[in-house]
Symmetry: C2
Subunit: 140 residues, 2 copies
DNA sequence: CTGACTGCAAACGTTTTGCACGGTA
DNA sequence: TACCGTGCAAAACGTTTGCAGTCAG
């Protein structure tokens, strides 16, 4: 568990319990939708308002603390900002797993975009399929 | 322009004017949101209902005629199904450009996922940045 | 102490639904 | 002709907003 209070203050945000709980919930689960963040945090903080979750997610994305992960046909999930990586999205259970980004791919993408005179800012690679866990579940 | 009527019938859908206009509009623009499809098609087909666009987009995605392209912080766009490719998404003008998918990247992604025992079904690579057109506009 | 933040409730825009009518095959 | 598809209007849903009260710094 990281020092969320410092992280927030460095981003110009007050370290409220709501925000720290939201960050902790996201870090524990890796990737979460707004609904599931609310459901999780409200358990330990029953007065929490869904509007507060919305406001804070938007704010923390703006401040660069969180990153939105759009997912085909579903509501977006949110994760803590970290190094570039690949998302393995399971179409069965909906779980998202991170994989380290490969140097070769990174180089290729930079080459491709510079050939296009495209000023690359952010890369987003989502691979959809069935995770090993769900494959086993189907086999049984 | 392709033969949309055949495409639709092969997918088990009736070839209505609404559907063919929607497909034509998407093919002409490459990538479109539901709103812009409606705005475009309603010009030549004033009785068109927005609900019809929604119903048909959902249906055609299910049938594999269209593909949803989720975009960070925006409403999704839709494109005709085609070979795997990369999306260059301009953060200034919102335009999405297709780039052919590179063989090397493709191989790397397959290797990566098979190492994970992840059954890869669909890949989605979105690169966000500023397109050459918008860079020129800023420079002036 | 003061501005930033929260929770509530209302407002808003988008998407979905049910149904009667119309068009395709 | 039969059934699928459309258009309309209403309903449902997710998200945003304004405001009064509260809290972190």
């Amino acid at each position: 568990m990281r020092d969320y209070a410092t992280l927030l203050k460095e981003s110009g945000l007050k370290a409220t319990f709501q925000r720290m709980n939201i960050l902790e919930s996201i870090e524990n689960h890796g990737h979460m939708s707004i609904d599931s963040i609310y459901e999780e945090v409200v358990k330990t903080h029953p007065s929490l308002s869904l509007a507060t979750v919305y406001k804070n997610i938007i704010l923390m994305v703006e401040k660069g603390v969180l990153v939105e992960v759009p997912i085909t046909g579903k509501k977006p999930k949110y994760e803590l900002i970290k190094e570039d990586h690949i998302h393995l999205v399971c179409t069965e259970c909906g779980e998202v797993e991170d994989k380290p980004h490969m140097q070769e791919t990174d180089t290729l993408l930079h080459t491709l975009t510079s050939n296009e005179h495209f000023k690359l800012q952010k890369q987003q690679i989502n691979l959809y399929g069935v995770c090993s866990h769900c494959q086993e579940a189907v086999a049984s």
